[in-house]
Amino acid sequence: MEQINNLISGGAVTDLLFYVFAALTLLCGLLVIANPFSRNPVTSAMFLVLTIISMSGLFLLLHAFFLAAVQILVYAGAVIVLFIFVIMLLDLKEEQRRRIRFFGLFAGLLSVGIVFSIFIKCLSSAKLATEAPANAHDGETYALGKLLFTNYTLPFEIVSVLLLVAMIGVILLSKKKLE
């Protein structure tokens, strides 16, 4: 494990890998929503998988092994499999014929702009550490769990309740259809 940590601690290869993964993330993310070659929803979903995998590559370069593994496990392994499951049950031809609507385009660009400005504000006000904390990545899973259940208990519980609400909502909606 120390050897792997050493291997990705700084150096030209790490920098190069960062640019490769960052470029892949952005490129694949773009191809999810605006693929000039195919309007096929399955292709979009597969590019989403690639985006997530390259993002977990970025996490790896930050020594966040736990986050990288969970990213792949939850998003690439479960969420998008469900997407594909649903896509395969739909009529894809109709989706491929659909035109881009201007209202959708406008709303999309607006929300992207808002998120982007929030990012800029956050990043410009953040104080970047000049040095990586020493040995912060030993037992990171333990440290993460401990922080979640001590300092950040309230946000953690609120997110859990949010998920529960979504779950109950889905059950209610699908029950109503049946009756």
Binding site: M1, Q3, I4, N6, L7, V42, M46, V49, F65, F66, A68, A69, V70, I72, L73, A76, G77, A78, V81, L82, I84, F85, M88, L89, G139, E140, T141
Partner: protein, 371 residues
């Protein structure tokens, strides 16, 4: 070390630690992939032989290269065992016509077999198949999140199957693909939940450390038997083996997701299935049966000599092959589940059972720490 030329020796000792690690990792990857392929080849033979014995047949007993019959006693014996059958099978896959049916989605049709094989090969990277030989740890990547890595990679395996079903432009593969995606989700959740008691007991996600804990305290199958049962059943579902081989149920779906595939592309799906069996068996051995350790003959601590290191690898292989045989045996002894039964078992039996198991283990650990 005298037989190694001076130039290579000086090159090796001149490498940085990073360089040495990369070199040894490449060597280990080559060996592990080779061994896994070998096991896959001969587990296909084992499958045919064991099924033959269960059904009171003989199994493959003819195939042999022409010169073998001139070897007295040994030659006919090996032929009867079917030792040469996998070579003939492999050759057949290679020289068959690589047929692409009309109307398939070309890119996905080519991509799907590769996407099935790659995760199957990647899973073995974190499994410690031995302790030490020389100063090398017998594991390719000793990750601190080894278990999560395996689960993540295994869950990627479903894309190969789903895309194969989608690309084939045919009804039966499509059904196979849809079934597979639903089945994988259902069983992955139970599988993930089933190992949480193991993590609670050991307190580490690193597979080497889990084995170390088992060497000190005894095999985890004793501490978490329910976990083991759920994990084993879920791994049958994850590898698409009977009684959960719904995605390729030949009586209903012709050949399931690989109906339209032939030649080497079909062989890749086959390879993926058996590699998944290998890695599932390896995971069961690592998580529940002490990995490369044995409680006697001093095999329960990291090896100090090369001989002991090799003995550990052999112990691991023996345990793993036992589970491979269980996989094969179950396939020929039990009927296939119906699709609704499979879903019912996954969501309404195993998931609650796994949750109760987590709670019970947590309470037990809490009481133990309170004393």
């Amino acid at each position: 070390m005298d037989f190694i030329p001076q130039s290579i020796q000086s090159w090796y000792f001149g490498l940085t630690p990073d360089g040495k690690m990369v070199l040894w990792s490449l060597v280990k990857i080559a060996i592990v992939i080779g061994v896994v392929q070998g096991i896959v080849m001969y587990s296909v033979l084992a499958e045919r032989k064991i099924s033959a014995w269960i059904q009171d047949r003989v199994g493959p007993n003819r195939t042999a290269p022409p010169f073998v019959k001139f070897i007295p006693v040994l030659g006919p014996f090996l032929t009867r065992l079917g030792i040469f059958q996998p070579l003939a099978d492999g050759l057949k896959f290679l020289i068959k016509e690589d047929f692409t049916p009309a109307g398939v989605k070309k890119i996905y049709f080519f991509l799907a077999p590769a996407l099935a094989v790659i995760p199957a090969m990647l899973t073995v990277a974190v499994i410690p198949f031995g302790s030490m030989i020389g100063d090398q740890k017998m594991v390719i990547a000793d990750l601190n999140v080894g278990i999560l890595y395996t689960f993540g990679i295994v869950s990627m395996g479903v894309y190969g199957i789903v895309l194969a079903g989608y690309a084939a432009n045919s009804k039966y593969p499509m059904f196979g693909g849809i079934r597979s995606s639903a089945q994988m989700i259902s069983y992955e959740i139970s599988m993930g939940m089933s190992i949480i008691p193991v993590l609670l007991i050991v307190g580490k996600l690193n597979l080497s450390q889990i084995i170390g804990w088992q060497a000190a305290n005894g095999w985890l199958v004793v501490y978490a038997p329910v976990s083991f049962i759920i994990f084993m059943v879920a791994s049958f579902a994850e590898t698409n083996r009977t009684p959960f081989d719904l995605p390729e149920a030949e009586t209903e779906l012709v050949g399931g997701y690989h109906t339209e595939y032939g030649s080497m592309k079909f062989a890749l799906f086959f390879l993926a299935e058996y590699s998944n069996m290998v890695s599932s068996s390896a995971m069961m051995v690592t998580l529940f049966f002490g990995g490369w350790t044995l409680p006697f003959w001093g095999l329960d601590h990291a090896a100090t000599s090369v001989g002991m290191g090799i003995a550990h690898v052999l112990v691991f292989l023996a345990k793993m092959l036992f589970f491979m045989v269980v996989f094969i045996w179950v396939r020929w002894m039990f009927p296939r589940f119906r699709y609704d039964q499979l879903m019912d078992l996954g969501w309404r039996r195993f998931l609650p059972l796994a949750l109760v198991n987590i709670l019970a283990t947590a309470v037990w650990l809490w009481l133990k720490s309170a004393n």
